[in-house]
């Protein structure tokens, strides 16, 4: 599903974020991208969503080279990706239902289809009864659940989570990770984190990034700071 071929990324002021990245991620695979802060994890994820373009090399998602400058289907690409952010990116002036529905409205679904999909997603994250709540009425853990509901709603095949538990206490972290665990085998999941406990307990594929390079890629790996 995702293929990086000798990908390099340099920022305008000369600092190198990624060097010679070669990587393949299969459909429905569960992958952790780990490494210390500033290692290049977020840059790697942003290249998949085309928030950034590589300096050299190619990135193929779903059989299409998205690293070309003349690629004009970024909106279509992102409609296949569900994103979960460390800062949640939940809109405070919209209800839980509206926040999740936003991701579906983009795909021009009917209002009935949106209603059904939102309720399914909220049920999956355990927020079925809080659909008309505003974000200010929710806890941090619940906000992240809303973000996950938004990411998994509809037909998004790929879930990218950038430090999804970075702002959460240990108990909530495990609750959130359980939701990702439930999605295993149904969607491709890429989680960037530096939470060693989570990575080690899941025993999934681990890609370790340090100073912009992949230093280790193990199928059922663990991670040690």
């Amino acid at each position: 599903m995702i293929q990086f071929d000798n990908v390099n990324k340099k920022f305008p002021f000369g600092n190198t974020a990624l060097k010679d990245i070669c990587l393949e991620i299969e459909d429905n695979e569960f992958v952790f991208v780990v490494g210390p802060s500033g290692a290049g994890k977020t840059t790697l994820l942003k290249l998949i969503t085309r928030e950034l373009l590589p300096t050299s090399g190619s990135i193929i998602v779903d059989g299409v080279d998205i690293s070309q400058k003349k690629y004009h289907q970024t909106d279509k690409l992102r409609q296949k990706i569900g994103m979960v952010f460390q800062d949640f990116k939940i809109l405070n002036e919209k209800t839980v239902f509206e926040n999740v529905a936003l991701a579906l409205a983009i795909s021009h679904l009917s209002s009935d289809a949106i209603k059904t999909a939102v309720h399914q997603a909220l049920q999956a994250v355990g927020l079925k009864d809080k659909d008309d709540f505003f974000p200010l009425q929710l806890s941090m853990g619940e906000l992240q659940r809303v973000a996950i509901a938004r990411a998994i709603s509809g037909e998004r095949k790929l879930i990218i989570a950038d430090e999804p538990t970075g702002n959460l206490d240990p108990q909530t972290t495990w609750e959130i990770m359980k939701i990702f665990k439930k999605l295993e085998g149904k969607k491709t999941i890429i989680i960037a984190t530096h939470n060693t406990d989570v990575v080690n307990s899941f025993k999934k594929r681990v890609i370790i990034v340090k100073e912009g390079k992949i230093v280790k890629d193990t199928r059922k790996g663990g991670y040690d700071l």
């Binding site: 928030e51 970024t74 279509k76 296949k80 990706i81 990116k89 936003l102």
Partner: protein, 297 residues
């Protein structure tokens, strides 16, 4: 629509400011359109009043005069051409001097010349018609009020320039203010726009709510401004009627059609309404387009 009303409810002051601004601009545009229309009608009316009068020598035959009259009609420059025979001229003379029997005794129909009274379609044609007539055989004298005509041409040009300048100024001012208001609204939604982009929304999807709001506001503002203006017109109608007494009809003439602007009629009112509706939609949509452009690169 629900989303739109929710958006208005959540930013009521900006929405009200946009509505008021558009309402004021469209009220001014309505007044401007109505005034320009009436003024053009009035100018058209006044422009056709001056005449060229050509007096013929007594030796000129009726067939010669009829031929000249036909040539004038065929030229497309004359609005009307009236042939005044010697007898008709004498009848007019008698009416004008009915209180002066001495003058009536001294003049007979043979002395007064036959003439053609010509109203031109545009005042610029008058000198051309006069020049044309002076070359014709049997013509004794051609009379037209050159100074009045020159001033009319000048006045028409000035009024056209002023109204066009004012209209451009109104359009630009409205657009800048609406751009600023919309820019505020878009800036308030910066996070939502950024999120929508990350979720895969197209530029049109992001812009659509702002465009939708522009269209709805333009509709309500145009309708309110139009109704308010119609109320004003009816309130002032006795004054307008008094001012235009004696004028049956004012029209604007285009090459392809003619619109009656006075007395008020459904076609002219519909033209004004759709004119300001289009103006409102165009200015607000353009302002929204540029206000959102910066945020959806």
């Amino acid at each position: 629509m629900n989303k739109l009303f929710k958006s208005i409810r959540r930013a009521p002051y900006q929405s009200f400011a946009a509505f008021l601004m558009l309402f004021m601009s469209l009220l001014m545009a309505t007044a401007l359109l109505f005034s320009i229309g009436s003024l053009y009608g009035l100018l058209g009316y006044v422009e056709t009043r001056p005449q060229v009068t050509v007096y013929f020598q007594n030796t000129a035959t009726e067939s010669q005069i009829a031929k000249i009259k036909q040539e004038l009609i065929d030229s497309g420059k004359a609005l009307s051409v009236k042939y005044v025979t010697q007898t008709e001229a004498f009848e007019t003379y008698k009416v004008l001097n009915k209180d002066n029997p001495l003058l009536l005794e001294m003049v007979t129909a043979d002395i007064l010349p036959a003439s053609l009274e010509i109203n031109a379609k545009k005042p610029v044609y008058l000198p051309q018609i006069a020049e044309f007539l002076q070359k014709k055989p049997g013509v004794n004298e051609v009379v037209f009020q050159k100074i009045i005509i020159d001033r009319l041409i000048q006045l028409t040009a000035i009024i056209r320039t002023i109204s066009l300048t004012f209209f451009i100024f109104l359009t630009i001012t409205t657009m800048i203010i609406l751009f600023t208001i919309t820019h505020f609204k878009v800036a308030l939604k910066r996070d939502e726009i950024e999120l929508l982009r990350l979720l895969g929304a197209s530029n049109n999807f992001i812009r659509w709510p702002f465009f939708q709001e522009s269209l709805v506001f333009a509709f309500f503002s145009a309708t309110s401004a139009f109704l308010f203006f119609i109320g004003l017109i009816f309130y002032f109608s006795p004054f307008i009627n008094g001012y235009l007494r004696g004028i049956d009809r004012l029209t604007i003439n285009f090459d392809w059609t003619q619109i009656t602007v006075w007395p008020l009629n459904l076609i002219w009112l519909a033209t004004i309404y759709f004119g300001i509706l289009l103006f409102g939609c165009f200015t607000y949509l353009t302002a929204s387009f540029f206000a959102t452009k910066k945020f959806i690169k």
